[in-house]
Point group: C2
């Protein structure tokens, strides 16, 4: 991404609403707002009413304008926030005037990229901005909020300082060794590495839960025809915890729905809807849904005859048995099976509870910093491996200080990659592209 | 709507975006933000970073908070704008904390209602807020912006003052008459009424265009099977002026699309898609679309054989003949007929031009204040009628001053209704309910 020029974007979703916010950032930001608005000077951070004009001098909107002068702004550059009426035609015209006056339409994540480049946040925090915005539940938002506010960065920077100290100690020892033929490292040196290793392992241990909250799980509803798969799906879709489906087959046949269970987004897929379609376009969607099934975390296997418990066919998935039509059966004592009655709207709560147990969903702890991205996990795993290697090398006498130093430098390198101090450009670009335009 | 308590709402659309804005208004607004945020005092209009906490003390988000102290705010009350990360879970949690602390979720338009009640704007301006937000084009937004900024209110208030002066003159004259047996009204009195009448008529004359920009028109594509109705519809839907359809039959079969032609939203309906469906749910949508056809402003009648120009069946609509498959015909000289070729993507521009002529779409004039709602038109029509009656009464000798005064008071009354000075509560409520939540 280019830096140094002035960028502009809408920071709120397009739509008809009370307010829309348009953001400018860069050296020309204040010059541009002075040209667009009737007001020709703004105080730092003071929200000021101004009429916005287009280049023909026509009034586009009455807006609330707030300038944030460099360096005390989100991006570190001069930033202008323009709060207009929430209307796409107005937003488009303001964006048009701003670009006519020299601003460039921002790419996704470009404001946060500039915040990163200008040292306002590190790469772990920038990642958290994207994850925070896309959080599906209050729990996952809080996990990202902790990272954004610097909790993980603090731990990483402490690890980094410790590693630098250890490497300095080694280097000092190597200088002495050359003179004195043998070098001694204190017990505390190994203990320090042990401490770092323990801490890193403990962070890595949070990843499974962090990812659960961040990415969620998928559940496929399966079973023979006419046992009540769609009825169950509809019951689930109508719980007050269900949120919009973003992968409908058609408007009529919603084939997936997401439910937040203890803060974890759980996406249910209805395979009944899948099989009954003949339409060509829909079939493509169905194909994708069936693929989803293969990678589902849980298969809910529905049946309606207590004497005919089905056999598990998908060995890759965890399976939950659901016996439907509870209202028709006398024998309610099928062990490990969830009994439901779609007709009487009974048992969905039990199914949700069983899912929590099956995936081991625990309550998110407010005191824990959770890793939640593959990148975080991969970097810290590497760090942990290098720490382990250095420990192994330290246990072989005589100790080869140079090799130990090499491993610790590698460990340091993996932390630096994580913080964005030394990270390949394409990785950085990918992180910011996952953000919205205007952020 | 209730006033006096503290209301809260999201002022930006729900969704995943850079920023979301939540608004509080009322006597408890600043107290609530002090309780929610780590910051415990805010300066007027100064955008301040603050951590938002829930009632358990957990950080919900880092936000930008701006307080607007009464009376210098949108509503006239204390207003707090909270700019969070654009995430529904965060928005919901902040709304939840605010309501736990005593705020009430605002009804649609309630912020603007309070602005109206507190004298920040009149009813014509409040109507313009709703219309501005729902504008489909830059032209229609500008028309509403002019009304919001007070252009129409100025004219109405001048008319109002003139009417009050005329009525005072009459009353004065009636006092004299009682003493002196006969009263004389100068020529200027009648001229004044004439002037008001002319001005009112001129405003009424803007309504047709104003409504065109505000509400737009509907065009139904009709014709025999297989002449290319859907191909034409698809060509139209793919022009860069086409915006989202909000009335799709299903995801696959979009049956209407809106195109902005010279600032006027023109909604095209594809009757081909309509007839080919057999699905029960879809049929209901189709029924609605067919009703639309009966009330369409224009029917585009498509045919593909130059020798078989169809006969107009819908006498209620204006009809445009479109001869498709231009590429196959040698004779291109069918008078008054638009020649297109869907295969070669040719002629859509000509069709748009013909629609402009048929509906008489002119360029919006930046100097004109356009009426755009039925309510404005009805009130000013009434005003005009009362002015005319008073003129008629003045031409009958001896003049009955009391009757003239009565008519002028009625004219004044219709202006007062328009400005919201004396308007029935249910009418006022309807106006504000057409607004978004958070405005």
């Amino acid at each position: 991404m280019i830096i140094g020029d002035t960028i502009v974007a809408a920071a709120t979703p397009f739509g008809y609403s009370g307010i829309a916010v348009i953001r400018l950032s860069g050296p020309e930001a204040t010059k541009i707002i002075n040209q667009i608005s009737t007001q020709n000077s703004f105080n730092n951070r003071v929200a000021t009413i101004a009429s916005l004009k287009n280049l023909s001098g026509e009034t586009v909107d009455q807006a609330l304008v707030t300038c944030f002068f460099s360096p005390e702004s989100y991006t570190g550059e001069d930033v202008v926030e323009i709060s207009t009426h929430g209307n796409p035609a107005i937003i488009n015209e303001v964006l048009g005037v701003a670009t006519d006056l020299g601003a460039r339409l921002a790419e996704p994540g470009e404001f946060t990229y500039r915040a990163f480049i200008n040292g306002k946040m590190d790469l772990v925090q920038a990642e958290a901005v994207a994850a925070l915005i896309h959080s599906k539940s209050e729990e996952s938002a809080k996990i990202q909020q902790k990272i954004l506010s610097g909790d993980l960065s603090l731990v990483l920077n402490q690890t980094r300082s410790s590693l630098i100290n250890l490497i300095s100690t080694l280097e000092h020892q190597m200088d002495i060794s050359e003179e004195e033929a043998s070098g001694e490292l204190g017990v505390s040196f190994v203990e320090n590495i042990d401490g770092l290793q323990t801490q890193t392992q403990s962070l890595l241990g949070t990843f499974e839960m962090g990812q659960l909250f961040n990415r969620g799980i998928s559940v496929v509803i399966s079973g023979a025809p006419n046992v009540g798969k769609s009825s169950l799906f509809n019951l689930i879709a109508n719980t007050d915890r269900a949120i919009v489906s973003d992968q409908p087959g058609t408007t009529r046949d919603v084939i997936d729905v997401e439910v937040i269970i203890s803060g974890v987004p759980v996406r249910f897929f209805d395979t009944a809807g899948i099989r009954e379609t003949g339409d060509a376009i829909e079939k493509e969607g169905v194909g994708r849904a069936l693929e989803k099934k293969l990678s589902a975390d849980i298969v809910v296997l529905v049946y309606d005859d207590p004497s005919q418990k089905p056999i598990i066919r998908d060995e890759n998935n965890k399976t939950i048995f659901v016996l439907n039509k509870l209202d028709l059966h006398h024998n309610r004592d099928n062990k490990g099976v969830i009994h439901i009655s779609c007709v009487e709207n009974e048992g969905v709560g039990r199914l949700f509870e069983k899912i929590k147990q099956t995936i081991n969903i625990k309550k998110a702890s407010a005191d824990t910093t959770y890793l939640s991205t593959e990148r975080q996990f991969a970097s810290l795993s590497a760090c942990s491996r290098f720490l382990q290697s250095s420990k192994n090398l330290l246990s072989v006498q005589p100790v080869d200080l140079e090799l130990v130093a090499f491993e610790l430098c590698e460990a340091l390198g993996s932390i630096d990659v994580l913080l964005g101090k030394t990270t390949a450009e394409d990785i950085i670009n990918n992180i910011f592209k996952s953000l919205c335009v205007g952020k």
